[in-house]
């Protein structure tokens, strides 16, 4: 840490080692933040961190984000009508008093479960929200239903654990529903794929459009959005019928092969070709290539989690990994060995879960028998909002939304907006103005992580203290301090270190035998040794206990669950099957005349995170306008040229968006980027409408409870049918 130890270089710049925070608070890339005259002026990558000095474009734009004119600098109380945007400035203490008083009153009148907290993607403040909910008495942590937990559920209950691909030693890598270039690239996965190709490994990319990383693959499988399960089931059909599986592994370590074999006979490549849009010959080719190239691995991404067939797609993929003989073998799909780093002491209060607690869940994200799941008990984010409208099984009375923007983050935007208008009490917590902040009763600003000296972050085998780059720019504290302070106001101080954030940090560091100040003496943190890798840990992994209250193992037979008796016991199909999106060419052919094209969306882009960062000029320059990627022929047939404003209409909503002629798009599909609403004043770009006529893809999809959800993990469909026309 040559530069940070110097701390003050000759030019008068102070250099502060810390974490990049453009993906939010988590053990992100290590950076050296540069400060001149008390101002945060620049960022460089930290060589000692896992990112080895590399950063993505977002990292460099951090000063523009921190000093953005859209920053919230002091708490606000609504004084006008909902949506009117009239607020009165209040202090931090007053804001917390208002929230605490309302929660106390509602707890008495409606019960504590009338509080719901909406979670963003998992960040390190998540367990503080869980802790607060536990102290308060509500199980209603609102988890997105499209996050890594959806995949993890399918892997856990099929393989006992979610494996990670051994990219460095594989000879064939399937990159499936994953965006390794725009998401987390500095972490090294992207480089590992490219290095594997450089030594002769082949890469097959399974995604609907030819994004830049797809273009570098050896083979592209241009699949229709949301049909991954159909492809995986047909691959199983080929691998099993052509005897390309590892018979020894199957007989020793799997349960129910005969029934799987009989079940997949219906999923022929010809059947899947009609659904996926991938030619049957290519399906056969990919299946054979995968099963005969040793070793092979699968790099799977969030793409799976945006379809109602999510769990069965993952189960089918997990079964492919297992029967092909690639599970926990060099170059295959590994069960990580972990490291010698201790786990920080958790703040979640898991030990307090009871059956009654689970039973109170308002809209379980996973069925109640599978709660708590890995991250704790959870209700589905959208179902919490919907409860305000349906009042079934009971309505939420308070919604707290920290670091998340409901109207642009989850499906059913029109219903979400109605729920925010109707709910008794809505609190928005953020660093920046949000899409629906005008509907909040109280707005609580929080510090960016560049203004915080906590929390420390631990990941894999690296632990490092977060250092404060600049003093807070307004009357606010951190997300973490918010929950401690609110806990104290509510009378839960004993569970919240009486509001002492440093005591809270030191509590978590106990297993390390050091305090936060002692950890801070290691400017670039501490790296622990990896545990030596042991392969084929089947006896160990196939016996892992699940996080359910019973602690029953994920795999009751201690074997890979090809035929899943656990799911069967709770009324779900023991074998993976195909479930259509709410609208698709094969599910609803009657809609094709009016809506002939498939619409889906990307959640990751080169410039942004989800619905954030559009107001950062250096990033907005990269992708200035919301665009609809459309094949040249599809555009030409509609008289659409590159850059034209077009109207996109689905059975559920409309968008006004610019056409981007994109040669690497399926001709029957159009794709947009999720999360558009925010303008960028520096570039003269205004905010977009949140609902019809804006650029919000979430407004376009079905939220029909019978069709839009995966029945096990509530993954929500990001597919519909649309018509696209040039704006007159």
């Amino acid at each position: 840490m040559d530069r940070a130890v110097l701390s003050q270089d000759k030019s008068g710049e102070r250099i502060v080692p810390t974490f990049c925070a453009m993906c939010g608070p988590l053990a992100a890339c290590g950076i050296n933040a540069m400060v001149r005259d008390g101002r945060f002026v620049g960022v460089e990558g930290m060589r000692e961190a896992p990112n080895q000095g590399r950063l993505c474009p977002r990292a460099f734009a951090a000063p523009q984000w921190v000093y953005s004119p859209q920053r919230l600098t002091h708490p606000l109380r609504r004084v006008g009508q909902r949506g009117e945007g009239k607020f009165q400035r209040i202090g931090w203490d007053e804001a917390l008093d208002i929230i605490a008083n309302r929660l106390v009153q509602q707890k008495q009148e409606f019960g504590p479960e009338s509080l719901g907290i909406l979670a963003s993607a998992r960040r390190t403040y998540a367990d503080y929200m869980y802790r607060f909910l536990m102290a308060h008495g509500s199980p209603n942590y609102g988890h997105s239903g499209i996050c890594a937990q959806q995949k993890r559920f399918g892997f856990n209950y099929t393989l006992g654990m979610a494996p990670v691909p051994d990219l460095a030693r594989s000879n064939l890598i399937l990159v499936w529903g994953k965006q390794p270039a725009f998401s987390g690239a500095p972490g090294g996965q992207l480089k590992a794929i490219l290095d594997a190709q450089a030594r002769g490994a082949k890469v097959v990319s399974i995604k609907p459009s030819m994004e830049p990383d797809v273009a570098l693959a050896d083979m592209w499988v241009p699949i229709r959005p949301g049909t991954d399960a159909a492809l995986a089931l047909a691959m199983l059909n080929v691998v099993i019928n052509e005897n390309l599986y590892d018979a020894d592994f199957v007989s020793r370590w799997t349960y129910g092969f005969d029934r799987l074999e009989a079940h997949v006979q219906q999923y022929t490549p010809q059947w899947a070709a009609r659904i996926t849009g991938v030619p049957a010959e290519q399906i056969v080719q990919v299946a054979r290539l995968y099963a005969t190239t040793k070793p092979a691995c699968i790099l799977h991404g969030n793409g799976f989690e945006h379809a109602p067939g999510c769990t069965d797609a993952i189960r089918a993929v997990a079964i492919l990994m297992a029967i092909s003989g690639n599970l926990d073998r060099p170059g295959g799909d590994l069960f990580p060995a972990g490291s010698t780093m201790p786990a920080p002491r958790g703040v979640h209060l898991r030990e307090r879960y009871t059956p009654e607690w689970v039973d109170k869940l308002l809209g379980p994200e996973f069925p109640k028998p599978f709660q708590p799941n890995v991250e704790g008990t959870s209700s589905a984010y959208y179902r919490l909002l919907e409860s305000v409208l349906t009042e079934k099984p009971y309505p939420l009375r308070t919604i707290i939304a920290p670091g998340t923007q409901p109207v642009v983050s989850t499906r059913g935007s029109k219903n979400v907006m109605e729920a925010l208008k109707k709910v008794d009490f809505f609190v928005a917590i953020n660093v920046m103005q949000t899409a629906e902040m005008d509907y909040a009763d109280v707005v609580v600003p929080v510090a960016t992580m560049y203004e915080c000296d906590h929390p420390f972050e631990a990941q894999d085998r690296w632990i490092m203290a977060r250092n404060r780059v600049i003093e807070p720019l307004g009357d606010y504290k951190s997300d973490y301090e918010f929950w401690l302070d609110l806990g104290v106001k509510m009378g839960y101080g004993a569970d919240f270190w009486d509001g002492d954030i440093e005591a809270c940090m030191n509590y978590q560091l106990e297993p390390f035998g050091m305090t936060l100040e002692e950890l801070r003496r290691h400017p670039t943190g501490i790296v622990y040794d990896p545990r030596p890798m042991v392969y084929e840990k089947y006896a160990q992994v196939f016996n892992r206990p699940s996080p359910r209250l019973s602690k029953a193992p994920f795999l009751p037979q201690s074997k890979v669950a090809l035929y899943n008796t656990t799911l069967e016991e709770h009324g779900f199909n023991p074998l993976p099957e195909w479930r259509e999106p709410p609208e698709s060419p094969t599910a609803t052919p009657e809609l094709l005349e009016r809506y002939p094209l498939i619409l889906s969306d990307y959640h990751t882009s080169k410039a942004y995170n989800a619905s954030w960062l559009r107001n950062v000029p250096y990033l907005r320059e990269l992708l200035p306008h919301p665009t609809l990627q459309i094949h040249p022929d599809t555009a030409r047939a509609r008289g659409i040229s590159d850059g034209d404003w077009v109207r996109v209409e689905s059975p559920h909503g409309t968008m006004r968006i610019r056409a981007e002629i994109f040669p690497g798009m399926r001709p029957d599909t159009v794709m947009a980027l999720h999360g558009w609403w925010q303008g960028c004043a520096e570039l003269g770009l205004s905010d977009y409408p949140l609902l019809d006529g804006g650029a919000n893809t979430n407004n376009m999809y079905s939220v029909d409870p019978a069709k839009a959800y995966d029945p096990l993990v509530t993954a929500m469909s990001s597919q519909t049918l649309v018509q696209v026309s040039k704006e007159p």
Binding site: G42, V43, E44, G45, G53, R54, L55, C56, P57, R58, F60, A61, P63, A181, F182, A185, P186, L190, K191, L194, Q197, M210, P212, D213, V214, A215, L216, W220, P222, K606, A607, P617, Y618, L619, E621, L622, H631, D642, E660, I661, F662, P663, G664, M665, R666, P667, E682, L683
Partner: protein, 190 residues
């Protein structure tokens, strides 16, 4: 003449992430609307048989820089010690002749009207460090060094042109990409 410093780009590793472009902008405090480094996608073929590659390029510090010849005020010079082409922003008279002369569209003019472009982070090179764009590249597609060092990299070929750009390129698809390089033709670019 001494050594020549330049760039190397493996187009079969570039994923169009734009980290190089924004690292450059942040490092040099470049105003909005101006980029010293451009990241451009190129398409050849028809769905589904497509070639798509991305080129990232800045000033290529040419061996025979046409901008230097075109500059009547003597503001643009090629450094003897490393061949880096630099602009003296005090001497520049904002005539725009360099932009006319450059085949790559490199010289740019911001609000002050004075020519600006990549200086290969000469201050960082002097400290023994890499340019900001190279240091951050997550896929290790972009490198810099002396042209002699970079020539050692397997399969690298010089980017041909009358001004002798100081840039080595690598791609299995180079023969189909060369006709559609961004300064050569109109084509869908991203």
């Amino acid at each position: 003449m001494g050594k020549q410093v330049g760039f190397y780009l493996d187009l079969d590793r570039c994923v169009q992430c734009h980290a190089c472009e924004v690292a450059c902008k942040a490092r040099h405090g470049i105003e909005l609307g101006i980029t010293w480094r451009r990241v451009v996608g190129m398409w050849v073929g028809q769905y589904p048989d497509l070639v798509n590659r991305t080129i990232t390029f800045s000033c290529m510090h040419c061996g025979e820089p046409s901008c230097v010849d075109a500059c009547s005020s003597g503001a643009i010079t090629k450094r003897a010690e490393d061949g880096i082409v630099v602009v003296d922003r005090v001497e520049c008279i904002a005539c725009g002749a360099c932009a006319e002369a450059c085949p790559f569209g490199v010289p740019q003019f911001g609000q002050d009207g004075i020519m600006q472009k990549c200086d290969l982070c000469v201050d960082r090179l002097a400290q023994g460090r890499q340019p900001a764009c190279v240091e951050t590249c997550p896929s290790e597609a972009l490198r810099s060094g002396t042209m002699e060092e970079l020539s050692m990299v397997a399969q690298a070929r010089p980017l041909a042109g009358p001004t002798q750009p100081s840039m080595w390129v690598v791609s299995d698809k180079w023969s189909v990409l060369e006709p559609v390089l961004p300064w050569k033709s109109d084509h869908p670019a991203s």
